[in-house]
Amino acid sequence: MMPKPSIWMLRLALVYLLISVSVGGLLLIQKTVNLHPMLWSLLPIHFELAIWGWLVQFVMGTAYWMFPRFLKGPKRGNEKFAIISVVSFNAGLLFLMAGYFTEVHSSLRLSSRFLMLFGVTLFVAVMWNRVLSYRQVPHEHS
């Protein structure tokens, strides 16, 4: 069964992939046909969404779903932390996108990076103990 945080991460990653590739397609066409000169301002959105929104988030979502589960207690650790991690990471990503279009660019970018850092830190904390082999630590997980 796929857990809720994974579903959110995977679906958001797919949405970001579509946006990133659509923007990338427009930028590619812009290289030969002048659609609109302002299109190049979308370049940072193209690669931020491709790397953070798509690749990183898809891997996080799949890892949270597929890594070994605990045999006692909550199967995937503290789910609230995982949910906060998803919300924080994606809020950070959206603020980062907004930062590229506003005059408060630097402060918004700083806070967005902090939110993403917080989200990733929580994710690492949730996943850390799930990086294990059942054979190596049977006394803790049986």
């Binding site: 796929m2 579903i7 590739v21 397609g25 290289k31 030969t32 891997v59 799949t62």
Partner: protein
């Protein structure tokens, strides 16, 4: 491992190899290509390699919406593979020549087709994988 997954992974590995070769070539003093090949090898690595590996593995591992014991590839998976790779190949052949032939109708046509193919490939991939990202297999006409 389904056939289409093997195609995705093998194509991905080829792009990985080509991307690294291109990165190497672009650094050679005699063949200093500057920024000309930069978008080509970045897209070889991020779309050709990483994204294609993710697509192949997710099509293989994610729970199937329809319970098909033969695990046949859907039309959407095949479309994703062919559209993405056709789009990428057209792009990789045409993009380095844009600065020299920007106003030629032929290169404009190839680039537009390449962009449309890539966006279409992502759309078909999402159409395939979105219903498979769900809490548990809901009862469907095929599985009921």
């Amino acid at each position: 491992m389904p056939k289409v997954t093997r195609w995705f992974i093998k194509a991905g590995m080829l792009y990985f190899l080509l991307g690294v070769i291109l990165a190497f070539i672009s650094e050679l003093p005699l063949l200093n290509t500057g920024a000309l090949l930069l978008p080509v090898y970045w897209h070889m690595l991020v779309i050709g390699w990483l994204t294609q590996i993710i697509m192949g593995v997710s099509i293989w591992m994610f729970p199937r919406k329809w319970r098909d014991k033969k695990k046949r590839e859907s039309v959407l998976c095949l479309l994703t593979f062919w559209l993405l790779n056709a789009g990428l190949i057209l792009r990789f052949f045409a993009e380095p020549f844009i600065p020299f032939f920007r106003d030629y109708l032929a290169i404009q046509f190839v680039i537009i087709i390449s962009a449309l193919f890539q966006v279409a490939a992502i759309s078909t991939y999402i159409a395939e994988i979105w219903p498979r990202v769900q809490p548990r297999n809901r009862k469907t006409p095929a599985s009921a």
